[in-house]
Symmetry: C2
Subunit: 183 residues, 2 copies
DNA sequence: ATTTAATAATAGCGAGTCGAAACTATTGCA
DNA sequence: TGCAATAGTTTCGACTCGCTATTATTAAAT
């Protein structure tokens, strides 16, 4: 009945949705890339906040990620911290002003919230399947939550990472890790 | 159980999916915006291929759309035709080379095609709901298929548009129209 | 203990997107 | 006839994007 293939239709809907949402973001203080980077940093654990990790998560190059992070730092939304252990690496932490920006719900957020529970449930499942397939295809890291990782061991409070060999606070086990591996 | 709200999770999945797909597009001959514009032109009817229509569909400004279309014309992927009736307006038609580019399936297309039928069905429904809600919110045109419009009247062959008062070929009734209004 | 190689981040380049505002050329209306 | 609305373009400044050096620093191989 449809003239478009199901695939093209879904692709077009995703693209339109993103453009509709992006059009609203351009009216705000941050462009879509800057917002995505800031949002990632706010959810990533302290081992996953380097420019290279942001680049990997956003599926872009280190050069591009570096520029976007510098732009956020210029606006005092994130703070740069050089590592003592490895003097080459840098970690960015979200500053108070950055956290404030993330609190404002976007138009897309509001629209999603009005979806029936059942719809948002199947939507999440479908999108997860697509993202996972794309990650696999491109040989990208999964960037899942610490506590869902195969290196994670539960503790009475928080947890322990067998890979990095560190104790983890309850908050940290709910953060995104670049070393995440599915069970 | 999840630390992220359902809304934020869905938003992040859509954003990641778009970025993953965009990263592949940058390796091709067209950037994401140019590809989206070309794809739209290939599906829109002859009354909906002006710069202003492209701008509206892509949720951007006329200025930006104009630049993207000029870039596509420079690459000989689309042809510019000035209207006789209204000397201000322009219509862009996709050139043979442009059509060839659209035939190549993207990585995201392939991934979508591997989804179970049921999953892609509910995914389409969910995304449609979100897009429609965003369009309503922003007071944007819907850009639906001609034959699903309230101004459309079926004929033995093709159809007739009560708004534009023109006869339509079978192909045209399956194209996107900027005047589309839901029944 | 040195060289050499890998890694982390950045700078600079050219093409292009993005909104906003200024600017033509038409067309429609009063 | 005159002015406002409309269609499209141009220019601007900020920025993204991939790419290719380039600079530190660290790791591995001699």
């Amino acid at each position: 009945m449809n003239d478009l293939s199901e695939a093209q239709q879904i692709r077009d809907l995703i693209d339109r949705l993103t453009r509709l949402s992006a059009a609203e973001e351009w009216n705000g203080p941050l462009n879509p890339s800057q917002f995505a980077a800031l949002s990632y940093l706010a959810r990533a654990n302290r081992y996953s906040r380097a420019p290279s990790h942001v680049a990997d998560y956003l599926a872009t190059t280190r050069g591009t990620a570096s520029q976007t992070l510098k732009a956020l730092a210029r606006k005092s939304l994130i703070d740069e911290t050089r590592s003592d252990a490895d003097k080459r690496s840098i970690r960015y932490d979200v500053a108070p002003d950055g956290l404030d920006l993330l609190k404002v719900p976007s138009g897309l957020d509001e629209v999603i919230n009005e979806l029936p529970n059942e719809t948002s449930f199947v939507l999440t499942a479908g999108l997860k399947a697509l993202v996972n397939a794309m990650l696999l295809r491109r040989d990208n890291r999964s960037f899942g939550l610490c506590r869902t990782c195969k290196h994670h061991q539960g503790r009475e409070k928080g947890g322990y990472c067998k890979l990095l060999e560190v104790e983890l606070s309850p908050v940290e086990t709910g953060q995104i890790c670049h070393e995440h591996a599915a069970t």
